[in-house]
Symmetry: D2
Subunit: 297 residues, 4 copies
C-alpha cells in the first residue's frame, strides 16, 4: 500500500480518490473546494492546505485537474508540488490536457530530476464511482508497472499507449472521435425525424451497417488498411448520396454542418483523381493532404 | 415464380438480376450497355430493346439506376415503362435517389393508375453477388408482402421502413451517417498518425468507447433518448476537449473540417445555455435549432 | 420597338416587364398569378393564357422564373413556348438557374432550330423598379447586340460575360461570393458585439483594410495574381490569428462555422509547405487542391 | 523625445524601432537574434542583454512579439521587464495576442503598480517600413495621448478603440474578417476558373456588387442595421442560389468548405422562420443563436 498525494477533487477526482482509499492507500488530498476536501477526509484522507503539503513524504502524486494551466500551476507555482516532492516519488497526471503541455511538463520535471507520467481516463463519472475507468497510460513500462496498483483501484482496464506522452495523445484522439461523432449522429437523427422517420426505424437499418458500427472494424480493414482501393462502394457514389442527403436537409431546414464539411472532403478526394476508388480512400487522401507520405500506390 | 422486367444492369443491378434468375424467375432485361445485357442473356434472361419492351406482359418491373432523372426517363420517357406496363403489375424502384423524387414518381404513377413502391438496398456489390443485400422496403404491407419473394432472391434481410417513401428516406439517413462518418474517422486516424500513434493503439482504446461503437446504443439511450440531460459528461468539457484536439491538429497540419464544424455545433449548444448538461443534449439542441418541437423540458 | 412575350411576373419580373412597356415595347405577358397579369395589363400589356400564347408572333420571349425546372417546363412543357415560337425570335432567360441547366436548354433549343441566350440580373427589386439592374449577358456578340434595347429598358449596365452560358456562370459566382460573405460578415460582427465592441468601432478599422474592402483589389493583384508569393503577411501568422479569433469566439459562445472552415483551408495550405508564403497563396493552393494546373512555381 | 525600451525585432518590430529612432527617440533594444540587435545598433540604438536591461530608466517599453506566452515571459519571467521598469513608465504591447491574455497582463501589471496599454498594428511589413501602419490603440484617453508621439513615428493613423483591451479586440475582429475572407475569395475565384471564367470577367461584375464591396457599407446599413428586415433579397432565394453554387462546385471538384458552412447558417436562419426576411437577417439570427438579446422585433 502506498502514500499518495491527490490533487483535484472534482466530479471525476473525488470518486477516484475514494477508490484509492478503499484500496487501502493513504491519501493526502488537496482541492480549492473545502467541501470536497472534507468529504474525502470523512472517508479517511488527510487534508493538505497546499499542493506542496499534499506532495510531502508521498510515493505518488496524482493530479486530476480541468486544464493544463492548472496542472502547471499546481506543480511549479507557489507552494507547488515541485517544492516538496521526493525525487523517488512519481507524479501521475490523470487530467485531460493538451498533449504538448504534457510533453513540456514531463521534460521540465525530468530536467529537475522528478519522475512524471500521464494517465488520462476514459468513460464517465459513473464508471469513476465504480472503479471501472479506462486508464490510458503514457510512460515507460517500468512507470506503468509501478503505477498499476493505483490504476487497478480506479479503473478496470489499463492500456499501455506506447510511451511517455502517448496516453494523452490517445485520449485526445478518442475524445475527438466520440465528441465529433456525437454531433454527427445528432445531425443524422434530427434529419430522420424531420423527414418523418422514428429513431427505431432508422436504428433497425443502421445497426447492420457502418452507420451504426463505424468503419474501423467493418469497411476499412479489408480496403484502405489493406492497401486495396478497388471499389466496393465508389467515392463518386458516396459523394452523390451525400449531396442528396444535404439537399434534403436543406429543404427541410435541418442544419448539418459536419456533413456539409465532409462533402467537401469527398470533393477534395475526387479532385485528386480518386472518384472511382473505394470510399475508404478518403483516409489515404486526407493523409496525403496533411503532408504525410502516401501508403498506397 | 414471376415474370420480371429488370432495368439497369450496373455493378449492383447485374448480380441482383442474376440472383432473380437463379431464384427461378423469368427476366426481360434492359440496359444501355449491350455487353451487360448479353451477360444476363447468357444466364437465361430475355433481352429487351427498350424499357417499354422490358415492361411488356410482366408482373414486376425492377429499376436499378444511378439517379432520379434516369428513373423518371425510363418510366415516363419515350418508349418508357408507362407505355406498356399493366395496371396489375408493380414497379419496384431499387435505385438510391432523392426521396422527394420518389414521392413525385409514386404520386404520378398512382394518378395514372400504376402501382409503385421503392426498395433501395444497403451493403456492397459483394453482398449483391451473394444475394445478401439489405432491402429497405418502402410501401404498404401488401406491396412488401407481394415483393418479398423477389427481395428474398436478392437480399438476406428486408426492413419494412414504415410506408411509401420511407424506404428511400431510411436509405439516405443510413448513407448520410456512414459516408460522413467515413470522413470523420479519416480525420481522427490521420491525426493519430501525425502525432505518432499507430492505428492499433488508437483502436485498443476506441473499441471500448463511443468513439468505436457509436452513440446510438451507448450514451444516448440512457440520456437524451430517455429525456435525462443530467451530465455524465458535460457539454462544456466535450467542447473543451474538442478545442484541444483541433488546436493539436492545426499545429501538425492535419485538416479536420468535420471536427471543426462539430465544435461550432457545441458552441451553439453552449450559447443555448446547455453547457452544464450532458453532451448528448447536442441532439436536443440541434432539433430545436432545426425548428422541431423541444422534447425535453 | 419590339413585340415581346414576357413570362414570370414576380418581385423582379413585374417591374422588369413594366419598364419594357415604358420603353415602348409591346408585351404579351403570362404568369400563374392572375393578379400579377392584371397589373401588367393595366400598364398596357396583353394577357396570355399560356406560355405558348405569350410566345406567339413575338420577336423576343423573356423568362424570369424561380428555378430551372419551371424554365424547362415553360419552354418544353404542355402549351410551352416551343410550340409557337418563331425560328426568327430569340428567347432570353433572365432567371437565376443552374448553369448546367442553362447549357442543356440552349443546346436543346438549338437542336430544334430555336435561338436562346441567358441574361440573369444583379442587384435588388428596388433596382428592378428603377430600371437600374446589372445585366449579365451570356450569348454571342450578335445576340447581345440584338437584345441590348431590351436590356437598356431594364438595367443600367450590361456586362458581356464572354459567350453562351457565361452570364449564368458569372451570376452564380457573384451570388456565391456575396451570399457567403454576408454570413461571414455576420460572424465577425456578432463576435465583435459579444466581446464588447460596437459596429462603428469595428468599421473604423475595417474600412481601411481588406476586411472591409475585400482582397480582389487590395492584397491579391500585387501578390498571388502577379505570381509573387513572397510574404507580406505569412500564412503561418494568418493561421495563428485565425486560431485566436476562433478560440475567443468559442469562449464567448459565438458560433463561427465559416471561419472555422477557413482555418482548415489554411491548415491544408500549411500542410502543402506554404506556411511561410504570403497568405494570398491560399488561392493557389485551393486551385491545386481542386485539380487545376499550378500557375506559380 | 523619449527613451524607449524596444523588445522584439522581427519583420515588423525592426522597421518600427528604426522609425522611432528616425523620429528622434533614444532606444534600448532587445531580441534573441544578435543580428537583429546589431542592425538596430547600427542605426543608433543601444543594445540590451535582457528585457530587464531594455526596460531600465526608460519612459516607454514597446513589445512586439509573436505570441502571448512570450509577452508574458518578457514581462514577468527571469530578467523580465517588471524587475526594472519604473512605475512612471508605460508598457505598450503592440503584439497581436489573445485579448484575454492582454486583459490578464494589464490586470497583473496594475496590481503591481505598473502602467500598460496595448496597441496592435494593422497593414503589412511594407507599411511598417514606411511608418504607415494602422495603430489600434487600447487604453485610456490619457494613455493614448501620451503614446501618440510614438505612434506617429510608426503609423499614419491611430484609432482609439474605446478603452483598455479594446485595441486587441478590434485587431482580432479585423484579422478574423480579412483572413477568413481571403479563403472565401479563393473559393469563389477557383470555382470561376473551374467553370471557364477568367478573373477579369468575374471582377467586372463583382466590383459593382456586395461580392466585391462587402456588406458593411452596402446592404446592411439600410436593412438589418436599421432594424428593417423586409426583403430586398430573401433569405430563401439566397439559400437557393448558394445551393446551386455548391452543387456546381461539387460537380467540378472545387472544394468550398467556407461556402458549405455558410449554407448551413442560412439553413439555421430559415429554420428560425426567417426565410422570407431580407438576407441581412442572417446577422440578427446569428446574434440570437449566440445568446445575445434580439435587437429587431
Amino acid at each position: 500500500m502506498s502514500t499518495i498525494g491527490f490533487i483535484g477533487l472534482g466530479q471525476m477526482g473525488s470518486p477516484m480518490a475514494a477508490n484509492l482509499i478503499k484500496g487501502g492507500h493513504s491519501l493526502r488530498v488537496f482541492d480549492i473546494s473545502a467541501e470536497a476536501v472534507a468529504d474525502l477526509v470523512s472517508k479517511g484522507a488527510v487534508a493538505a492546505k497546499t499542493p506542496a503539503e499534499a506532495a510531502l513524504d508521498v510515493e505518488f502524486v496524482v493530479t486530476m485537474l480541468p486544464n493544463g494551466g492548472l496542472v502547471r500551476n499546481v506543480i511549479f507555482g507557489e507552494d507547488g508540488v515541485a517544492t516538496t516532492l521526493s525525487k523517488e516519488a512519481m507524479l501521475i497526471d490523470m487530467s485531460t490536457i493538451h498533449p504538448f503541455e504534457t510533453d513540456a511538463l514531463i521534460k521540465e520535471m525530468a530536467e529537475q530530476g522528478f519522475q512524471m507520467m500521464e494517465a488520462p481516463v476514459g468513460r464517465t463519472s459513473v464508471h469513476a464511482i465504480k472503479g471501472e475507468l479506462l486508464i490510458m497510460a503514457g510512460g515507460s513500462k517500468e512507470q506503468i508497472e509501478r503505477a498499476q496498483p493505483l490504476f487497478d483501484c480506479m479503473g478496470s482496464e489499463t492500456v499501455d499507449c506506447g510511451g511517455p506522452g502517448k496516453g494523452g495523445r490517445v485520449k485526445i484522439i478518442n475524445n475527438y472521435m466520440s465528441i465529433a461523432l456525437n454531433a454527427l449522429s445528432a445531425e443524422a437523427i434530427t434529419l430522420a425525424e424531420a423527414i418523418g422517420l422514428d429513431f427505431d426505424t432508422a436504428m433497425k437499418v443502421m445497426s447492420g451497417t457502418p452507420a451504426g458500427n463505424g468503419h474501423f472494424t467493418t469497411t476499412w480493414p479489408g480496403k484502405v488498411l489493406a492497401g486495396d482501393l478497388s471499389p466496393a462502394f465508389m467515392v463518386d457514389l458516396a459523394h452523390k448520396d451525400l449531396g442528396i442527403a444535404l439537399d434534403l436537409a436543406n429543404q427541410v431546414n435541418v442544419p448539418m454542418p459536419c456533413g456539409a464539411a465532409s462533402r467537401e472532403l469527398y470533393s477534395i478526394t475526387r479532385a485528386a483523381g480518386r472518384g472511382r476508388q473505394d470510399w475508404t480512400s478518403v483516409l489515404e487522401q486526407l493523409r496525403v493532404t496533411s503532408g504525410l507520405e502516401p501508403k498506397i500506390k
